[in-house]
Assembly symmetry: C2
Homo-oligomer: 405 residues x 2
């Protein structure tokens, strides 16, 4: 059905934009490299006969018309932005699998009743601008457009200004989207498919997330003259907090807890650190457990403040409860895998995905494929052309079932 | 004897160069601001009739001739560079107290047999370029000139290039210095004089130091999809190490252990950190205890590597054993404090000072004065005009005794 070699070639061509020494990609949201990736993708989608629309938050919609223009599209898509140490597949695969579906429909001159639509969602990664899944979140109504346009990166640069600068501040409204159904294809980014020897993950939902900004204020002082018992060291306190985040996650299986971002001030060897800013990321597939993790974190912070004298400000910046996908869409993915004879298993997404927010306004599910050693957000992220083919074929099958030939 | 108001005014004038919002100074070594401070100081020293020489590592010597030009000078001095969150007194006070000694000799038209010489030593702080006390260390032979000129800051900028750029790559040789005696005046930077209610610290020596660079290599991976037990998180491992440094210092009283500098890579909220670079600073007044701390650190690192899978590279970048000052110079400071009726106590310097390295080639001691709440390397570092006067008067008295009127 689909063209494995063409899909792989497109993935490799796209991976040249922001390619890193270690074989990965660094293509942060709304940078010049993101623009280059968007431009290339739009060229490809136009060449495949798609109509292109850019909305106010920079989401790109590429549509292949159906035979009945009154019907809502069957949608797919993902993102083109990456982590600073990102791979070649996270996000990109879901976009180019969608493009391959349309190219294959063209090859076989198949007409569908419903339009087929691919979305490239703005800033899914949440690395340069936090939180993640901003483009889909604005369309779903989880975020307001204004709130997102006013987000700033660590250098204080406004998201809205970057959208303008790279020419992707579109005019299409972010409201009023509807899909017959939406499917997102993505590498699993975790170890389970590989461990179980399955080709396809039938994604039944996404785990919940809580993100925080943390500021710790101690007192700068001399590293050689300030006796240990007279210090208010923001970094030793932050270290205890980082280890507590790890313990809280371990105590709430299969939860995750991560500090990925941290800045130390004044960052001088012989000055006791006076200020730390850092992030905390907590996740759990069950909301009750996620709440328990949040409570344990707050209790730990209170205890640390009392013990160390460091002032700790914890600011929740993002929360969403675990998201169940649509039973019919889940079934469509499972049936497609079976029809194509791929081994499969049900799975919960550990990462956030645009599909999680799309499921607010459309029946949704996802198709996962394995990734080597379960490693993602790493330049060595790896998958095979066969695995990409499998995911794309399942997507093709599920979308066609719903779009009606 | 000396002019308290003039000394204070000079301190306040110098503090304008690199002044921070919170009342401190940020005047990192060999920046444009360091150049401005050097230029102003040289103007003042010339106005006081001094002869100026700049050596190959940028040290500035200002000399007031003696009546017998065959005799070695009696020296004093300190540094003009500061920490990123530095105060108005650390270093500067020792330089301007020296200048005030010469100005006062001029006021009273006092001639000395030995010349009086003030040194401004290059990069005492060791913050922008590590390690510390570079200018005095080159003159003492602890470092070679080449090794120091080739040191780079965190941005890779070479010290030698910065010296050229700001016009302080002098031609005077760094070798062949000799002093009859050397005294450095400095704020204590710690809490002991204040706690004991003493005006003058008679410094009997400096504690030993060991500095290290540390690199921790884990594996970047996704914060939401990588189960806790499958992570190789460089930051949780670094946190354990930071807390171990604290414990090692606490177990070796009155030792100090500090991590002041740390960088996290890739520094993205939802990526498990794959690489950390950080510093470690260990100090102890007894060399045996400092060795024990070094051994405990290495043992901890071995255990952490085995426990976490993170690779840890510990690179010692600086070591000096505790330094005893010269008994006669110590006595000269004590006698000066007594002659002037200042309360005093013997004290060990917790910080490194240029005097520590000068004592390799000249009889040396130091004069300490209190600083508010023992806080230094902080913009709120504070001392009074009376305390500065006391330190300068003791310096004046001790230097005159040795320089012979
Ligand atoms: N898929 C993916 O890596 N999304 C980034 C947002 C998250 O951290 O879950
Ligand atoms: N006096 C002073 O703060 N020196 C800096 C070098 C050190 O950390 O001891």
């Amino acid at each position: 059905t689909i063209n494995k070699a063409r899909l792989w070639q497109s993935l490799m061509d796209m991976a040249k934009i922001g390619a890193t020494d270690k074989g990965g990609c660094c293509r942060l949201a709304l940078t010049d490299l993101d623009k280059q990736a968007r431009d290339l993708y739009i060229q490809w989608a136009k060449d495949a006969g798609c109509d292109i629309k850019i909305d106010q938050v920079g989401n790109i919609r590429a549509t292949r018309p159906g035979t009945d223009s009154t019907l809502p599209p069957v949608g797919t898509g993902s993102h083109l932005d990456t982590q600073p140490t990102g791979g070649k597949f996270d996000g990109v695969f879901g976009v180019l699998a969608g493009l391959e579906v349309i190219r294959s429909l063209n090859d076989h001159q198949i007409k569908t009743r419903h339009p087929i639509e691919i979305s490239v969602w703005t800033n899914e990664e949440g690395s340069r601008f936090a939180p993640a899944m901003m483009g889909s979140g604005v369309v779903s109504g989880r975020f307001t457009l204004d709130e997102i346009l006013n987000k700033t990166d660590v250098e204080g640069i406004r998201l809205g200004d970057e959208l303008e600068r790279i020419g992707y501040a579109g005019t299409e409204p972010v409201t009023g989207r509807a899909y017959k159904a939406f499917f997102e294809t993505h590498i699993e980014q975790g170890p389970y498919l590989e461990a179980e020897g399955k080709m396809i993950g039938v994604v039944t939902g996404g785990q919940g997330q809580r993100w925080y900004d943390v500021e710790l204020i101690g007192q700068e002082s001399h590293a050689g003259t300030t006796p240990m018992h007279l210090r208010t060291d923001a970094l030793t306190c932050a270290s205890s907090l980082i280890l507590a985040v790890q313990s809280i996650a371990k105590a709430n299986k299969p939860g995750c807890g991560t500090v990925g971002f941290m800045q130390v001030l004044p960052n001088s060897r012989n000055t006791i650190p006076g200020k730390i800013t850092m992030s905390i990321d907590l996740r759990h597939p069950e909301d009750q457990a996620l709440t328990a993790m949040d409570e344990a974190l707050k209790a730990k912070i209170e205890a640390l403040e009392a013990d160390t004298g460091v002032k700790i400000a914890l600011t929740p910046i993002w929360y969403y409860a675990p998201i169940p996908f649509d039973p019919d869409c889940i079934a469509a993915v499972r049936e497609a895998a079976e029809a194509l004879d791929y081994s499969h298993m049900d799975i919960i997404a550990g990462a956030g995905h645009d599909a999680c927010y799309v499921s607010d306004f459309a029946p949704t599910s996802m198709v996962f494929t394995p990734c080597l050693n379960g490693i993602s957000h790493n330049e060595i992220e790896s998958t095979t052309a066969e695995e990409c083919e499998a995911g794309c074929a399942v997507l093709f099958n599920a979308m066609l079932t719903l779009a009606q030939i």
